[in-house]
């Protein structure tokens, strides 16, 4: 089952530039939370702080605390260990180009020491089913490379790959922004189903997507969290004028 995420006084920096200012929020387990806001507002930076991907950029650093379930992200565990509990799907699908579909999905397990073939077969099939991709590729698991699929299929492959590691949280950084509407619809439906097993945080540029998919929504602006509430409230009756302006299209 998924776990909740608690963020307290989070500040993030790229060298001397501050990108996030005192973020406080709590993500509910087994729900989908959307993060919206105009370009450059910090929502991608925020989500990358949750699985410590932010620190892979040279001179980037973080202050504050993040807890995932009972685990302290910055003090309690190594980044590698953490990322096995928090999966990530990126804006542009990035399957490993030299690996087959099977190897792509199994990569998270194989490269972390799991070699048992039967177990891997099981996990691969299960993950591909969870990503609604199994039926489309089941005949070519070992023959086709990850990069030979269509854009939408590649992204679902990346979702399957992330799920194979059995995380508790799934972070999605604008997963549909490079996809056509039909693929987007398939993935949104996926998120709907995945909510029952995982906690999902999804960054999106598309307000209608947030409304379709998430129970909670947070609005970011210039590195600050302006408002965080049930999706319905944020879109129909926001507390902050800036939220209202963004949601009604006055800027952004």
């Amino acid at each position: 089952m998924g776990v909740g995420i608690t963020v307290e006084h989070l500040n993030a920096f790229y060298g001397k530039t501050q990108a996030l200012f005192d973020i406080n929020l709590a993500v509910q387990a087994n729900h989908a939370t959307a993060l919206i806001g105009p370009s450059g507002c910090g929502k991608s930076t925020f989500i990358r702080c949750l699985n410590r991907m932010h620190e892979t950029i040279p001179e980037a650093r973080v202050e504050g605390s993040v807890r995932i379930g009972d685990l302290s992200v910055y003090n309690g565990t190594s980044a590698t260990q953490l990322r096995r509990r928090v999966g990530m799907v990126f804006q542009k699908a990035n399957p490993f180009p030299t690996m087959s579909i099977y190897d792509n999905v199994a990569a998270g397990l194989k490269l972390n020491g799991f070699r048992k073939r039967k177990l891997l077969d099981e996990v691969v099939e299960r993950s591909l089913r969870s990503a609604a991709l199994f039926d489309e590729v089941k005949d070519a698991l070992h023959k086709k490379s990850g990069a030979s699929l269509s854009g939408g299929q590649q992204q679902r492959l990346c979702i399957a790959r992330a799920l194979a590691v059995q995380p508790e949280v799934l972070l999605m950084d604008e997963p549909c922004s490079a996809l056509d509407p039909i693929s987007t619809g398939k993935i949104e439906e996926l998120i709907f189903q995945l909510k029952e097993q995982y906690t999902i945080v999804i960054v999106t540029h598309n307000m209608q997507q947030a409304a379709r998919v998430a129970e909670f929504t947070g609005f970011f602006l210039l590195g600050k969290l302006i408002e965080f509430d049930k999706t319905e409230k944020v879109f129909t009756n926001p507390s902050d004028k800036r939220t209202e302006d963004y949601v009604t299209g006055r800027f952004g």
Binding site: R85, R129, Q166, E215, E232, T236, G249
Partner: protein
């Protein structure tokens, strides 16, 4: 204008249950597989192993400098700077003056440059500016092929084809027409400084040409278009819009070619005649620094002899480093996007 006319959109909360559709089943998860402790040790070990490899490269250079310095100590103490000023190379009496070799290296390299530069730049200009697209790849490949031929094969060809050619046809003509300069006098054996210069030229054309091509390609298209828009012919466009911009880079390519020529050993040794004398005529035998090493190193008896040879090696090493560094600086300044001085 205020935008109050914009209606507040009504978004509906997502439906708790999708009706009807047989949606995919997300199967219940078993106990997670990857929850054990992850040691940071392999990461550290790997990181240090890679850093060690990087360090090894620096150590290699250090070893080279060390060996050359230590090996040449004896000769340095014996002769000092005069080593490079004296012409007397006499192993029998343990007297060593390296001037003939320095002379030979410099003259053969300069001669090679004089022959190679116009040809290499001409080829580069042709390939980048004039050549029909389909031919471009083939021509580039052909010049790269020249670079792949080993030095000893160049030497082999030079002995049996170039030298007889020079002896029978070229040198007589040169003697007749340009003999008054003093550069083309004396018996024409074929083996000569001239032969060394020619074969060196053939060998350094590929590198000068390929760097020049790189540098010419980097010149932005709008420079060419600007000159053409003024009504220039194609050659004028090349001269004013391309070559002038790429000047520093082309000079760099030439110096890189020089660096290559200075260190070239086998082909030169096979045709230069290998006599340590300084002579004005290009028909005469010569001797280069690399050649004396090739010929005499394995037979050197006596510590001072060996040390003198190693000192020549040290000099060659230092000269090629300086020349190559200078060359790369000039090429770098152009290909890194900094404009060359003096744009048209």
């Amino acid at each position: 204008m205020s935008n109050q006319a914009l209606p507040r959109p009504r978004f509906e909360a997502p439906e708790p249950e999708r009706q009807g559709k047989a949606t995919l089943k997300v199967e219940t998860k078993s106990a997670p597989l990857l929850r054990g402790h992850v040691s940071g040790l392999p990461d550290s070990i790997f990181g240090w192993a890679m850093r060690l490899c990087g360090l090894a490269v620096v150590v290699l250079l250090g070893l080279i400098v060390y060996e050359l310095l230590v090996g040449s100590q004896l000769s340095w103490h014996a002769f000092g700077w005069k080593f490079f000023g004296q012409s007397d190379w006499n192993p029998v009496e343990d007297q060593y003056g390296a001037l003939p070799f320095v002379f030979g290296t410099v003259v053969s390299s300069l001669l090679a440059l004089i022959i190679a530069v116009p040809l290499a730049v001409g080829v580069a200009v042709f390939i980048t500016e004039m050549c029909p697209l389909g031919l471009r790849g083939a021509l580039a490949f052909a010049t790269e092929l020249l670079a792949a031929i080993p030095s000893v094969i160049y030497g082999l060809w030079a002995i049996f084809v170039l030298v007889p050619l020079l002896r029978a046809y070229v040198e007589p003509v040169l003697a007749k027409t340009l003999g008054w300069t003093g550069l083309f006098t004396g018996p024409a054996y074929g083996y000569s400084m001239l032969a060394a210069g020619v074969i060196l030229a053939i060998m350094i054309i590929p590198i000068i040409s390929s760097i020049t091509r790189e540098v010419l390609t980097v010149v932005p298209q709008h420079q060419r278009e600007a000159v053409l828009a003024l009504g220039a012919t194609r050659w004028e466009m090349i001269r004013m819009g391309v070559l002038r911009n790429a000047r520093a880079g082309i000079v760099g390519a030439i110096i890189l070619g020089l660096g290559r020529a200075l260190g070239e050993t086998m082909a030169v040794t096979m045709v230069i005649g290998n006599r340590p004398e300084i002579s004005k005529s290009l028909f005469d035998f010569g001797y280069s620094m690399a050649s004396v090493l090739a010929n005499e190193f394995s037979e050197a008896t006596g510590d001072l002899y060996l040390s003198a040879l190693i000192e020549i090696g040290l000099a060659l090493f230092l000269v090629t480093i300086v020349v190559n560094a200078l060359a790369r600086l000039m090429v770098w300044s152009v290909t890194r996007g900094q404009p060359a001085k003096g744009v048209a």
